[in-house]
Symmetry: C2
Subunit: 246 residues, 2 copies
């Protein structure tokens, strides 16, 4: 019987007290995974305690402001993760960089579907000026990253408006995509959004000299099998009948 | 003294009791003009009573739900007005029709600046799932009008997504425009949004046969001095150096 003399020691890991920061992270991760796939009103502190395997009083001790505070903290965690999606080294054609960042962004949308919709569609019980500010900060970081990659240090109002409206279009397309059971496939949605970016940049370049300079420099670095080249070859047959406009 | 014998009759209009519907309309108009230029939290029922020249109990009698109910009713009135902006006879080049509708829409944004921002930026004390539903209904009507003008009766997912993301871009651009003290001039903003529409439709046509058919038919009706012709002539010099992509 000697091998079984101390069965608990063999099967139970040594008990280790989590630090305050580790416990907080554990609770936030549990909360985020719940908020990601349920509407905020369908998540209770009991659910979070159960998902994290802790008591409800413990959750309350860490988040004295209750569900609202927990939601905002989980949103802050999600916003940090989303901002990391935009990190991309400044190498290679611009559309290839944008494609990689967009792939990560759309994977995030895919993984946090219900929470993403609830957050951006508004009217949620937990939406406040603070949650709006967190979302706006993510948009600001995304715009700053794109402008840094163009690269532009002093963007004029037109270039800024172009980038910010494209980000809005990406959000709107993501919501529609979630609403339509994630159709078309993520890669097709991404490629359409990349075409969309090149098209809007080109249209803006038509009336804004700064955007025109940026676009010319970006197109020089594009490769024939990249986004811009593929779009140009597919657009030509569509507009070839419109010579009467030139 | 005889001409002044009855001074009140000469200067005061005969008292007429407003019907319930007329009174309601009067209160809603007063509320809408206040909500248009102040944040919802800065409008009280006292303010509405004063603006309409009636007692506060009267306002409460018509809107027993208090400010929230009044706000939602005023929003409903604004939504109706906004939906009328999209009415346009199906005649002439598509971009000319879109230009007229967009001119009316942007004039509405200009006239309801603060209220428009507060409504769409979210996090407002009066935003609820009902206010979100009213705004979504306006977007739905706008998309249906554009699709009817294309004209398409059975839009596929790509065409639908193109139209809906452009509407999001219009909203985002409107908010940025309000935030930047209404710069650039409204006409320049409108013309950029029209270029934006043509560009995104063209990029979508590059990968969607239905959009390609719609675009070809629309371009046939365009005139050289119209939106598409002007855009095409301004785009060519910008992209002419990118022949290596073809």
């Amino acid at each position: 019987m000697s091998p079984a003399a101390s069965p608990r020691a063999a099967t139970t890991p040594a008990y280790r007290r989590l630090s305050v920061e580790e416990r907080r992270t554990q609770l936030l991760e549990a909360a985020l995974s719940l908020f990601a796939h349920r509407a905020p009103e369908d998540v209770s502190l009991d659910d979070v305690a159960e998902a994290a395997g802790v008591s409800r009083p413990l959750v309350y001790r860490y988040f004295t402001g209750g569900k609202q505070q927990l939601y905002e903290a989980a949103l802050r965690t999600a916003a940090d993760a989303l901002e990391q999606c935009f990190d991309e080294p400044p190498e290679g054609p611009l559309t290839a960089r944008l494609s990689r960042a967009l792939t990560r962004y759309l994977a995030f949308v895919d993984e946090h579907d219900t929470g993403f919709s609830a957050l951006l569609q508004g009217g949620s019980v937990v939406s406040t000026s603070r949650t709006t500010a967190i979302v706006d900060e993510v948009r600001r970081v995304a715009a700053a990253q794109i402008l840094a990659h163009l690269p532009v240090t002093d963007p004029g109002p037109r270039l800024h408006m172009m980038v910010r409206t494209w980000i809005s279009a990406v959000e709107a397309a993501s919501l529609i995509w979630l609403d339509e059971d994630k159709q078309p496939p993520l890669v097709e949605l991404r490629d359409w959004l990349l075409d969309h970016f090149v098209a809007v940049a080109t249209a803006t370049a038509a009336s804004d000299p700064q955007t025109a300079d940026v676009l010319r420099a970006a197109l020089e670095m594009e490769e024939p099998d990249g986004v811009a080249g593929s779009l140009a070859r597919r657009v030509l047959p569509v507009v070839s009948d419109a010579a009467h406009l030139l």
